[in-house]
């Protein structure tokens, strides 16, 4: 098994895929645009004055609707893929991801509370994200605190408390739906996730949090390799395990919260993508994280494409699409793992 060539090959495939998927995301949708027209609109810039129809409409569709949406999908998909890869390595468990650990549901609850309490409107575009961050950080701190005893965190306790907190939070959101019937439609967004709200502003706001978070995660990739062999082994190799772990949990929560804040909770990307990339290119995090990012970006852009063009003119929440695609794939992986065992 030669990993180096496999990693290079996967990188080439994913870059090629991005080259196909991103333009596809601009062309397809409720209105189908020709590739040439999309390219002309892109080249002439967002504020170009175009007198002729339909070029003028195309330019508007591309620049104000589809382009930010595609970029946001790519960014959040990448963030989810990387956060999932980090959580799996950190807990040496391919079942771990930000959803299982309760980070995403905490962010959702924060956003829903912001919505029903009116905080969102008071703070503008930063309101709901801020609430989502608070929710994510609080639930992470809570789950982490439950599982930490005398400065050491037990992996299994952490996973179990994550699952418990997740379901607690889900019921809290359900309760809020009942109490605030009139806002049900908005609250549903925070339980399913979607990219309908993407604007250039939300892309920018998300990047402000995502980029530093991802850099922190990527910088820890060698420590993650060591931690994959167990925390005690990593300790003997000279990794300051507890410090690295805390850093990864905070940065992972930040990145997850940013994604939930702008697109709602989207499941399975963080679980499946790193799993598949690891099978294809090996477990070294220096490669696994960027490759999972690229793959996650592509997966979410494609899922969103399906979400908005499968049953026109209706749009399916993208979280439903990723679950429909992800769950069977996940089961297949499980079956294969059981057969190999």
């Amino acid at each position: 098994m030669k990993y180096r060539s496999r990693q290079g090959k996967l990188l080439a495939i994913l870059l090629f895929l991005s080259g196909v998927v991103l333009p596809l995301g601009l062309c397809l949708g409720s209105v189908r645009l020709p590739l040439g027209g999309v390219l002309r609109a892109l080249l002439s810039g967002p504020s170009a004055l175009i007198e002729t129809e339909p070029e003028s409409t195309w330019s508007t569709i591309v620049w104000t609707l589809r382009f930010p949406r595609v970029v946001q999908a790519f960014v959040e998909g990448a963030a989810l893929g990387i956060a999932g890869a980090v959580m799996q390595g950190l807990f040496r468990n391919p079942m771990a991801d930000p959803y299982v650990l309760g980070v995403s549901s905490g962010a959702s609850l924060g956003a829903v509370l912001g919505l029903v309490l009116g905080v969102g409107r008071a703070l503008g575009i930063w309101g709901l994200p801020a609430m989502a961050f608070s929710g994510a950080i609080l639930s992470t701190a809570f789950v982490y605190g439950l599982a930490t005893h005398r400065g050491r965190t037990d992996t299994w306790t952490l996973l179990l408390s994550g699952i418990a907190v997740s379901s607690l939070v889900s019921s809290a959101i359900a309760l809020l739906m009942v109490l605030f019937r009139e806002r049900v439609d908005e609250i549903v967004f925070w339980t399913l996730g979607g990219l309908t709200r993407a604007t250039w502003k939300s892309v920018g706001a998300s990047l402000v949090y995502t980029v530093p978070g991802l850099l922190v995660l990527w910088k820890s990739s060698r420590a993650l390799d060591a931690i994959s062999f167990g925390e005690e082994t990593a300790f003997h190799l000279g990794v300051p395990v507890q410090t690295v772990k805390r850093r990864l949990l905070w940065a992972g929560s930040l990145v997850t919260a940013a994604s939930v804040a702008f697109t709602g909770p989207i499941g399975f990307v963080g679980l499946i993508v790193p799993h598949a990339v690891r099978l294809a290119a090996g477990p070294r995090h220096g490669w696994l994280l960027p490759l999972s990012g690229l793959a996650g970006g592509n997966v979410l852009v494609l899922s969103d494409l399906l979400a908005r063009s499968a049953v026109p003119p209706r749009e399916i929440p993208v979280g439903v699409v990723t679950a429909l695609l992800g769950a069977p794939f996940f089961l297949r992986l499980l079956f294969r793992a059981r057969r190999d065992a």
Partner: protein
């Protein structure tokens, strides 16, 4: 010459209220191999994991080359001492080479070819170079044990704490690993290792430390070990002979003694 590179003083450690280590003091001379023997549950692994810095003692301290390991910065400590035991089943399919290279985590060189050369040398020393591109999840426990040993060698600390380094090895690799240990010791590295096989301890170590119930009950040079000392610790009647050609002492267990342990 008689430099004590490892010094443990009055170590007391416990996971719960009952101490596992009840005041253990120990010194190991630089460039020697010291074996720790004793019945199951006597605290041998706990002693090694406390000396490594991983477990924090309630009382006492450990010094390696004059540095208190429980207060040393992570990277300094990992260049002074490492512990190599059983990692358990690996979770992810790292290649053998990637696994061994992790030994350079704290001490990686600016020039990666230096690290690669160190890793290659370590892999050849325990004969896993031929496995270098295999995934560790596919290896047998004996092969994996040698890979983890290679990782420790690649880490290149002053003191090696080996927890049953030959537990999964066949006869031939047992000799190979012990000879590698001996060679490294004569070039100045120091070894403290838990060994179950008394004969292995007597043949390759220059000092044998015997533990029971969290205490050191005797310390002896190999040719000082008597049938009496074996009976006192294990409750086993044994013959202590001298090997005709090797000249090393040899222990043959005969039966459990009547008074048990």
């Amino acid at each position: 010459m008689d430099k004590m590179v490892l010094k443990a003083q009055d170590l007391e450690f416990g996971f719960g209220p009952d101490p596992v280590l009840k005041g253990v003091s120990l010194e190991v001379q630089e460039g020697t191999v010291c074996a720790v023997v004793g019945p199951n549950g006597s605290g041998k692994s706990t002693l090694l994991r406390t000396i490594s810095g991983y477990l924090t003692p309630r009382k006492g301290y450990v010094e390696v080359a004059g540095v208190n390991v429980h207060q040393a910065p992570f990277s300094l400590r990992s260049r002074l001492v490492t512990y190599c035991g059983d990692d358990g089943a690996p979770s992810f399919a790292f290649s053998v080479k990637e696994t061994v290279l992790l030994g350079r985590y704290a001490g990686s060189h600016e020039d990666p070819s230096v690290d690669l050369a160190a890793a290659e040398q370590a892999m050849r020393a325990v004969d896993v170079w031929k496995l270098k591109d295999r995934a560790i999840t596919e290896l047998s426990s004996g092969e994996r044990q040698r890979v983890y040993l290679a990782r420790a060698i690649c880490q290149d600390p002053e003191v090696f704490l080996l927890d049953e380094p030959t537990a999964h090895l066949d006869m031939s690799y047992e000799i190979m690993v012990m000879e590698t240990v001996g060679r490294m010791a004569s070039s100045g590295k120091t070894f403290l290792m838990v060994v179950h096989d008394l004969n292995l301890a007597l043949r390759y170590a220059s000092k044998v430390v015997c533990m029971k119930n969290g205490k050191i009950v005797w310390t002896a040079a190999p040719d000082e070990v008597t049938a009496e000392m074996v009976r006192a610790v294990y409750g086993v009647e044994a013959l202590v002979l001298k090997h005709d050609t090797l000249g090393t002492p040899m222990i043959i267990p005969v039966s459990r003694s009547d008074d048990g342990r």
